[in-house]
Symmetry: C2
Subunit: 239 residues, 2 copies
DNA sequence: CGTCTCGTTGAGAATTATCAAGGTGCGTGG
DNA sequence: CCACGCACCTTGATAATTCTCAACGAGACG
């Protein structure tokens, strides 16, 4: 299952055979968690990071009276909290949005990997900076785009990121989240998400039903979103 | 002028004398830039990072037809683009919002510092992860808070961050930006910023006039913002 | 003294939120 | 197999927030 993590890295960096072997050594025990399990709570002291092998995770921040903001979605192959390697405690929670398969990677094991392969240290540092780039795009979306444009942007992002781990440009993909959870990503109410999805469907751009996104018109969706994939850093960098 | 960078680091990590000397060695030439200078353009290939010694910088992303979203503000002592050390090109622009004094630090010099002092590598990695934590708080603000709460949050953040570099908890501070630029941080229109600031003034929480923020009631402002400084990682971590 | 940027105010429009009520699909247990 | 409950989705009507357009005021500076 770690193949998807390797694929995600290889989308942006060359990884040698020796490095790949070392990365594979990160994962030993894996565990399954049920959807809606809170994996990590804000402020807890951590000495390991969580690699998502299969399923869907998110980072979210709590507000008073049950309001939440999801700040990032994590797909298979992502480390959900690699930043805990340096931060030690997180400023947000991590939740399994679907039944998921995880690997727990102790920080000391990451430290050893980096010591043995300094270039991988740079690559994992890059990876946390890529999360920050995604945060910035969300800031842009939340700050400047309307509900439909925002929604389109999110699905454009997910379409690319899901494509990376299986090397395709999917016309459809599963996304195990409800309209309410989508609303928590987009900073709008669930009701408004519903109306927005209806509009995107009417305009024949995409649909999202029963946990399945179907992109009817990728170019049109990207045009609506004013989507530029630069923030996903898809061009392999020498490093 | 690099004292403020050291102070900013020391707010979160212990720094030995040897490490401090090595950090001081990062800076040789400095340069002044006039306000409104775009220092770095999205997509440009970089081989150095910019340390802000004095002034005010921001990261911003462009939208069509002149709209912009500021994604982070940088105060003296901050690296504005340490993430370019791994990303090599940025997904956003960097602008001097006021006349500023900068140091340009070549990436190879950072690499040498990290090789000689691996612990500083962790600390600078932490620093980019702290930027990401600030992004997350902005995502939370933009996604869930109304205009007044959002504005209050931003000033609470700046009050803390400015305090860090001179070891105080300032009741007032200079912030060389216009209401329009504030609007670009907050994702609301300049007109609405104006009304929001008027409201905060009426409620005797704070004022912002002539580039000067004055906090009348820090506790009240924090209450309005529902401000929790956890995301600024103020407790020194062992690391 | 004119000009320019920035801040202020008012009125009306657009977007999104809230409240309320059904509808749909699906698993569970009678 | 059907009935029920439950979570999620859908729709309508109204309210709150924020935006847009327009005009005017204040301060800085040549």
């Amino acid at each position: 299952m770690i193949e998807r993590h390797i694929a995600r890295l290889r989308a942006r960096h060359s990884i040698s055979g020796a490095e790949e072997q070392a990365i594979r050594g990160l994962v030993s025990e894996t565990r399954r968690v049920a959807k809606q399990t809170v994996l990590i709570r804000e402020g807890a002291l951590l000495d390991s990071s969580t690699l998502l092998l299969d399923g869907l995770l998110c980072r979210y921040k709590d507000m008073e009276e049950g309001r939440r903001q999801i700040t990032e979605l994590h797909l298979p192959g992502d480390f959900a909290d690699l930043h805990s390697f340096t931060l030690k405690r997180l400023d947000h929670n991590i939740l399994a949005m679907s039944d998921s398969l995880l690997a727990t990677v102790p920080h000391e094991r990451i430290q050893r990997l980096i010591n043995d392969h300094p270039r991988l240290g740079r690559i994992y540092w890059f990876s946390t900076n890529l999360d920050a780039a995604i945060h910035r795009e969300w800031v842009l979306s939340l700050g400047t785009r309307g509900a439909a444009e925002r929604t389109a942007t999110l699905f454009c992002e997910l379409q690319v990121r899901i494509g990376l781990i299986d090397g395709t440009s999917p016309k459809e993909f599963m996304l195990r989240m409800s309209q309410s959870e989508l609303a928590e990503c987009l900073g709008i109410t669930p009701i408004h998400v519903n109306r927005t999805l209806a509009r995107l469907r009417e305009e024949k751009l995409m649909s999202f039903r029963h946990n399945r996104a179907e992109i009817y018109d990728l170019a049109g969706l990207r045009r609506l979103a004013d989507f530029d994939d630069g923030y996903l850093y898809l061009d392999p960098e020498p490093l």
